[in-house]
Amino acid sequence: MDLFLDRLSEPLDALMTILAGLGINLETLTTQSEMIGRFYTLAIRWLLPLMAAVILLRCLLTLLGEKREKTPWGYLQLPSGLRISITRWENLIGRGRFADIVINVPTLSRSHAVLTHRHDAWLLRDLGSKGGSEVNGTKVEGEAAIDYGDTISLAGLEMTLFPAGIDSPQQRHEYDPDAFVSAERTANHTTLALILLFQFLGAIQIYLARGAAAPALPLIFLSFFLLESLHYVIIRRYSRRNLVPELIGYFLCGLNLLIVASSSPGTLLKQLAAILIGMIAYTVIIAVARDLDRAHSLRYLFIVAGLLMMILNLALGKSHFGARNWIDLGFISFQPMEFVKIAFVLAGTATLDRLLTTRNMTAFVGFSGASIITLALINDLGTALIFFGAFVMISFMHSGNIRTLFLFLSGAAFGGLAVVIFKPHIAARFALWGKAWQFANSSGYQQTRTMIAAASGGLLGVGGGRGYLVSVAAADTDLVFGMLCEEWGLLLALVAILMIVFLAFYAVVLTRGCRSSFYAIAACGAATIFILQMALNVLGSVDLLPFTGVTIPFISNGGSSMIASWGLLALIKAAE
């Protein structure tokens, strides 16, 4: 036996030498669990970025491979025998390039009329066309109801509205689970399984690195896995199309929990609760917004709630890192302006006929003004910028006018000038932009620490729970990009950011086949907020933009931010 051990010792020594060359020094490890932890990190830091990339790729492929069915809601029969199918709830008729139903007859106006399906009925609104519109021989003043079989005359051109056959729109209104392509379902299942595995492996890493600090960690993650699986099962029943937005939401929430477990394990339960509330809010918004009329009433509810939030914030706001954006009600504390984001986007929505006729944006402009003034008063410059950006985007969706766009942007320049004059401390912050390294230990402290952490992580990260950025203030919120890079690697951090970029891009794709402009504007507004938040957070924390202290949707620690993110995601999803 001794002889055997002697024989073995030589190759063992050689192995130790090789391992030492790789930076693996076994003799320094004291306990067995520590040993397991080290080896686990060694393997997992390669595996996780790879899995994240695969998940992103699968989401992309699902979107690309999707067959978009365009079942008509009805037909317009022209005297020539031509049948034009109506595939949307809102249809612009005219000879213009952007009309949904293009009829190339010179007497028609470019934007002649809008044919809308609402309240289970069809409506025709004349857009003040030259030739005018008639229904069954009666001139349309403003709006007129249409039944199947009615004759519509646009500048003398007659056509008749017919139902789409047995599949009347009313029946189609309800979701038919069988229409959901089964192959896509399986693809979604696999992606979910991958996400769960990713989160499971990540949770073990954090537990091995930080287990002592967070004894409840396994239970929290287990509950989270159950929660997202349950949500998936429920939402699958109501989804018209793929579940890519939800899957990305789950993935990002998992990252959020991994970050929180590393930075402040004590708040894990609170964060899990926020995810739960977020998912519920998401489901409710989706269910309500499915019906356009209910969506309209939802809008007013949110706007009123939004106004209340603003008043509440102005009255009770508490300061946190310079911005007075927290409310503490004793039993709960939150950031009201996060929820106003949803109200803001909804206030900006309009339906196509309204868009093209009245162009009345007074309510939206008023709400925007109120929000931005509130943000200015509570000193939250970053969020003010986000609201302003979303305002410009939504206004452009309304008007399509490049000149107005420039008007807004020059207005913003003047606004910026006013800020510089009246708020010198913000001006000072701008003056330091791009000079973080010159003031590495004073005003550039957070940015330089973010860059140091990001570089220290390399491409693969030093392992979850093994970073040092956590000790810097706001590491898991404003500097969360640095934390992701340091602990999980630049590759994984970039994939996570690209997931949210992908969500925004998804909103663009959805507008093409959207039933109503209401959903299209809401989706684009939400996407704009996502992108602007990321731009200000990621590029701000590495000194490529002024550092304004905003969160990354989903990933940053914070209950209000998490719930608001799910709410905004619901607005994107509703556009399906």
Binding site: T28, N91, M397, T511
Partner: protein, 453 residues
């Protein structure tokens, strides 16, 4: 609805702008990440602002040149090696910008692109990445000794593999016992400058190699021509002179005797444009990188030189400057049949061979390089004396660069060994050293004899 789809263009623009911003960050990251991690606040590497671990720098024979131990820097025990290699290891305060410990600091700290600061056992400072250099510490010390306190630099490298085996720059000092560098005498002026990498001198006659290369390729039948030297030549009221009248010469003889009037004539015949083109082709006006260490480029600017200026430029005396390392690569390329192999200094990082070794670039055609090599061999036999370079198969060119009234000229000697067992190219520059074939050649002889031992 189509209307709204068209208007999503603004959102798409916003998304693209953000992706561009991300790309800008990625570029910044790949440009600056090594510098970021070196910040003393980085707790992955520093404890209380002090580096907690650092790899060791070894020479090619495994001699430790610089080592981190117990929070302090430990240098080689031999003061001669420490002094000769001060510009490689850097001083204690990191004043030498081109030193290995400055340029490769992040590597020595144990950082790399893939793994970042990751260590298997992060609580245990197990040392950074070790660097093994191509340099031979003993040879460097010998070269420094041969300079005998005169300002200047010596470089020797393998022109087939690019390995820099000897490098030293004077003045220097022992980093363990730094003298009073601010003394009145001015002895230590520019002491932090590695003169091989970061200085550029008037080349004098060594530049005739560039003029010859251009002549060989651009002037037909140049090798059959005869030049007449009567000791002086007037160009637009300017006198170009030789020490004595050389009489009738071939191109090779003109190079061997460094005949100024002949080369002034060749330069005028070539024209400013062609001479400029060849100077730039062989590396003037562009900085070189030695494993990421920047070097200073030599300069040739002939656009507004005029005829007299062009004549002087052809013999290396106009406003031209040459960087010693760059010039060494040029003579190395002549030795390697026209193919320049980029010099490198890091042989191994950790237990991996360095990636950048031996990037090749053709400077001269094979025929031109061969012809130049023959002439340079002839220089040794006819002028410098084969007995001084016994067995070295030396091909070389000397230079005595005038630097102004009342100042001793700079002494240059550059060339290569035509030996397959020791394919070495070298450069020696001594500031105010006088005759190139005298003082610089003597240093070269001693260093090269030691190198082939």
């Amino acid at each position: 609805m189509k209307l709204l789809s068209a208007r999503t263009g603004l959102l798409i623009t916003l998304i693209l702008l953000f992706v561009l911003g991300l790309a800008a960050f990625a570029m910044q990251y790949f440009d600056s990440a090594p510098a970021w991690v070196e910040h003393p606040s980085n707790r992955h590497f520093y404890t209380d602002g002090k580096l907690s671990n650092l790899g060791t720098i070894y020479d090619r024979g495994g001699k430790a040149l610089l080592q981190m131990s117990d929070g302090g820097i430990k240098y080689n025990e031999d003061p001669a090696i420490r002094t000769a290699l001060m510009h490689v290891t850097g001083d204690r305060d990191g004043n030498v910008e081109t030193s290995i410990s400055s340029v490769f600091k992040s590597d020595l700290m144990g950082w790399n692109w893939l793994n970042g600061a990751y260590r298997f056992n992060s609580e245990q400072p197990t040392g950074g990445t070790d660097l093994t250099l191509t340099l031979d510490a003993g040879l460097c010390a010998a070269a420094y000794r041969e300079l005998r306190g005169r300002r200047g630099a010596v470089g020797v490298y393998n022109y087939q593999t690019g390995e820099l085996i000897c490098m030293t720059s004077s003045p220097s000092f022992d980093p363990v016992f730094p003298p009073d560098l601010t003394g009145e005498s001015g002895d230590y002026e520019g002491v932090y400058l590695n003169r091989l990498f970061s200085a550029a001198y008037t080349p004098g006659s060594v530049f005739k190699l560039v003029t010859t290369a251009a002549a060989l390729e651009q002037l037909p039948d140049i090798d059959k021509r005869r030049f007449r030297c009567n000791g002086e030549m007037e160009v637009e009221g300017n006198m170009v002179t030789c020490p004595a009248a050389h009489g009738e010469l071939t191109l090779g003889e003109a190079l061997a005797h460094s005949c100024n009037t002949s080369f002034a004539r060749i330069a005028l015949e070539l024209g400013a444009e062609k001479l400029q083109e060849y100077a730039e082709r062989v590396g003037f006006n562009s900085a070189q990188k030695v494993d990421g260490i920047h070097t200073i480029p030599g300069r040739v600017e002939l656009a507004h030189a005029g005829k007299a200026g062009l004549a002087w430029a052809g013999i290396g005396q106009f406003t031209n400057t040459a960087n010693p390392l760059n010039f060494m690569s040029l003579v190395g390329a002549i030795g390697n049949r026209g193919l320049a192999v980029a010099p490198n200094i890091v042989a191994r990082r950790g237990f991996l061979p360095a990636a950048s070794a031996g990037a090749k670039k053709r400077l001269l055609s094979e025929n031109t390089a061969e012809a130049l090599a023959k002439m340079m061999r002839n220089n040794t036999i006819a002028v410098y004396g084969e007995s001084n370079f016994k067995g070295l198969e030396l091909c070389a060119k000397s230079g005595t660069a005038e630097v102004g009234e009342g100042k001793k000229p700079h002494s240059w000697f550059a060339g290569f060994l035509d030996r397959s067992d020791y394919p070495l190219a070298f450069v020696v520059i001594i500031e105010g050293g006088g005759s190139g074939s005298g003082s610089a050649a003597a240093v070269a002889s001693a260093v090269l004899h030691r190198a082939v031992k």
